[in-house]
């Protein structure tokens, strides 16, 4: 069983929900990333999501676009993101880590080579925002050989029969996009999320985590009533943007912010 499945099954057994923070590798510099990941784990993150900086993040809102731009300005690449994972793993061998990015970054490195290096670095899962399940077979095989789950997204617009296709192709968990929109959007509708969760639950036994537009503990708590966990990205990344000139302060700030969300979510 993968590290992701082990953690999510364990949480399910305890009736607890997963909290998954997202930051971008190399934002605002490469030195900050591993300490920031460690701080998030200390603050109660069950899994970690690390963004691969990309020049054209077409599914991301302004906060994560800006994070990518800061990381690219600091010279961060996919190879650097993997270096950050290795550095984090020296400190933490148990918290599952998921890379999230766009397909071109993976293709440029080569799918096989990426899978081997990511596996060796201690990556547990991969989310590729713009890779549909129909075209994921090659990458999925390469990842499987390296012990990495390919996590697929489902959306409010995904038809029922397609949810079943996603279930058949996904590993680890399914990432349900909460709304029609981009990351950091401000129009999340909890009732609608619950409706789509219900549709998805009928078609998958994999855990379902919900992301996009979840900005605070109260919303996280409401979503987590039905979901197996929540992803919080843009809200945290915005704090990193505010501290870009004082990167040394970022890990402590993230730890404090995520602890607040953890407490609100767990009640």
């Amino acid at each position: 069983m993968s590290r992701i499945s082990a953690v999510l099954n364990g949480l399910r057994g305890q009736g607890r929900k997963a909290l998954v923070p997202f930051i971008t590798a190399g934002d605002p510099n490469l030195e900050t990333t591993a300490p920031a990941l460690s701080a998030l784990a200390r603050a109660g993150a069950d899994l970690l999501e690390l963004g691969i900086p990309f020049s054209d993040p077409e599914a991301d809102g302004p906060a994560i676009q800006a994070a990518s731009e800061r990381a690219l300005a600091a010279g961060a690449s996919l190879a650097d993101a993997l270096q950050c994972v290795r550095a984090f793993r020296r400190d933490n061998a148990h918290t599952p880590l998921i890379l999230m990015g766009y397909l071109n970054s993976i293709l440029a490195m080569g799918e096989e080579r990426f899978a081997q290096q990511a596996g060796a670095a201690g990556v547990d899962g991969l989310i590729v925002v713009n890779l549909p399940p129909e075209d994921s077979a090659t990458l999925r095989r390469a990842l499987a050989a390296a012990g990495i789950d390919l996590i697929l997204l489902a959306a409010p617009t995904t038809a029922d029969d397609r949810l079943s296709l996603i279930d058949r192709s996904a590993g680890g968990f399914i990432y349900l996009v909460s709304l029609k929109g981009i990351t950091g959007a401000d129009h999340i509708d909890v009732a609608a999320v619950q409706h789509h969760l219900g549709r998805l639950r009928q078609r998958t036994r994999l855990p379902v985590l919900v992301g996009f537009g979840i900005k605070d503990g109260a919303t996280a708590r409401k979503i987590a009533e039905q979901a197996d966990g929540v992803v919080i990205g843009a809200a945290l990344v915005a704090h990193m943007g505010a501290l870009q000139d004082d990167p040394a302060a970022i890990p402590a700030e993230l730890e404090c912010r995520l602890r607040e969300i953890r407490q609100a979510m767990d009640g």
């Binding site: 490195m109 617009t157 995904t158 029609k180």
Partner: protein, 402 residues
């Protein structure tokens, strides 16, 4: 619309032209693309839709556009017999309107009340704003701030047509960033909005349907060339940014294996400088904006900033069908520099009294450069747009303030 009896059956049902194309978008958009694909297939089979499209092209756009024998230019170059396909004479001044007419009909058929588009030179933005005004659709046009600065005339035209021009200041502030922002808008407003992509790129079915709507160019040119020259052309030449005017011209000749296709990319300051927009000449395959195609990118897969004197060619990718035609050797792709394009712009003004768009000037410049190898050849150049929008750019280069 697919050519009956053609041996060339591209793309596949899932939108692949050989190894290129596909549908690499966020999951949220898949449903809208499925819907568009189904509706487009239905429209292709619907006589009334086809009739309406043809009527709009005839009565509103002003088609057919002439195929004009450029005697002055041919004499000046002393080699090829040059024919110009006059897409510059279309309503709104470029080929872009052909596709917009078709997509507006599709948007109405889907019951969408709002259209969005990206634009570089502003020609596609103007064409979209035009069809939106006519159909009573709400319209927002995404445009990079750098392009807004160099295409002020078209920006104002779009406003006069009732569209809202949304400035995009992320990334390189040009066409690719406008396309990112349009995709973000679409994913957010997918229920009521149709995204009118302006070129033969993007996720399936866009590369196919834009090509099909533009293929009227080649259908006319083929017939006109048989009438005027008494035979098929030897060479077709068109500029390639995303590549819609080129495919529009090439597509009807795809089975005419002796007709040579030449796509001309923007060489900018020269391929060796890295400051250009020529992915087919100097790029590598990758995935951007929903399709796998040749891209200008670095070793980490980051998309590179491009440069061209012409905003409409200033794009790091290219339609996936061009990537396929390049790989199978059916079309060849070359590039010309900013300077060569400017020289051709001036030459056509002087020899023919026609002011071409700087985009189309790239195709002309290739013919100028290659003229000595084209003796006696019948060459059709797609004059994809007129140059009024570029007067300020050229004047600035001449040191003239208007």
């Amino acid at each position: 619309m697919p050519q009956p009896g053609s041996n060339y059956a591209q793309p596949s049902e899932r939108g692949w032209f050989g190894n290129y194309g596909g549908r690499f978008v966020a999951e949220t958009l898949i449903h809208a693309l499925d819907e568009l694909q189904a509706l487009y297939a239905e429209a292709c089979a619907d006589q009334q839709f086809q009739q309406r499209f043809s009527q709009d092209l005839a009565r509103y756009v002003g088609r057919p556009t002439p195929l004009y024998f450029a005697a002055g230019l041919s004499a000046e170059l002393d080699g090829p017999q040059i024919y110009l396909k006059r897409e510059d004479l279309n309503h709104t001044g470029a080929h872009k309107i052909n596709n917009c007419i078709g997509q507006a009909l599709l948007a109405q058929r889907m019951g969408k009340t709002r259209v969005i588009a990206e634009t570089g030179a502003g020609q596609h933005g103007v064409a979209t704003a035009t069809v939106a005004a006519r159909a009573g659709l709400e319209c927002q046009i995404y445009m990079g701030t750098e392009d807004i600065a160099r295409q002020a005339l078209n920006v104002y035209r779009m406003k006069l047509l009732g569209a809202e021009v949304v400035p995009v200041s992320s990334g390189s502030k040009t066409l690719k960033d406008a396309m990112n922002e349009a995709l973000r808008d679409w994913v957010t407003h997918v229920d009521n909005t149709h995204y009118i992509i302006g070129t033969v790129a993007g996720p399936h079915p866009y590369p196919q349907l834009v090509r099909d709507f533009q293929s009227v160019i080649g259908q006319e040119a083929r017939r006109q060339c048989l009438e005027l020259a008494g035979r098929l052309p030897d060479v077709l030449v068109a500029c390639v940014g995303g590549g819609s005017n080129a495919l529009g011209l090439f597509h009807s000749f795809i089975d005419d294996v002796n007709v040579r296709f030449v796509g001309v990319e923007a060489g900018g300051h020269g391929l060796e400088t890295g400051r250009h927009a020529a992915p087919l000449n100097a790029g590598a395959a990758g995935v951007l904006h929903g399709n796998r195609t040749y891209l200008m990118q670095d070793g980490d897969g980051q998309i590179l900033a491009t440069h061209s004197i012409s905003a409409g060619l200033d794009y790091p990718g290219v339609g996936p069908e061009h990537s396929h035609l390049k790989d199978i050797g059916r079309a060849e792709y070359d590039s010309v520099t900013d300077e060569e394009a400017l020289d051709a712009f001036r030459l056509l003004n002087r020899t023919e009294g026609i002011m071409p768009a700087l985009e189309s000037s790239h195709a002309l410049a290739w013919v100028v450069r290659e003229a000595r190898h084209l003796a006696e050849r019948v060459v059709i150049v797609n004059l994809s747009g007129r140059g009024d929008k570029d007067i300020q750019t050229v004047a600035a280069i001449d040191g003239t303030t208007l």
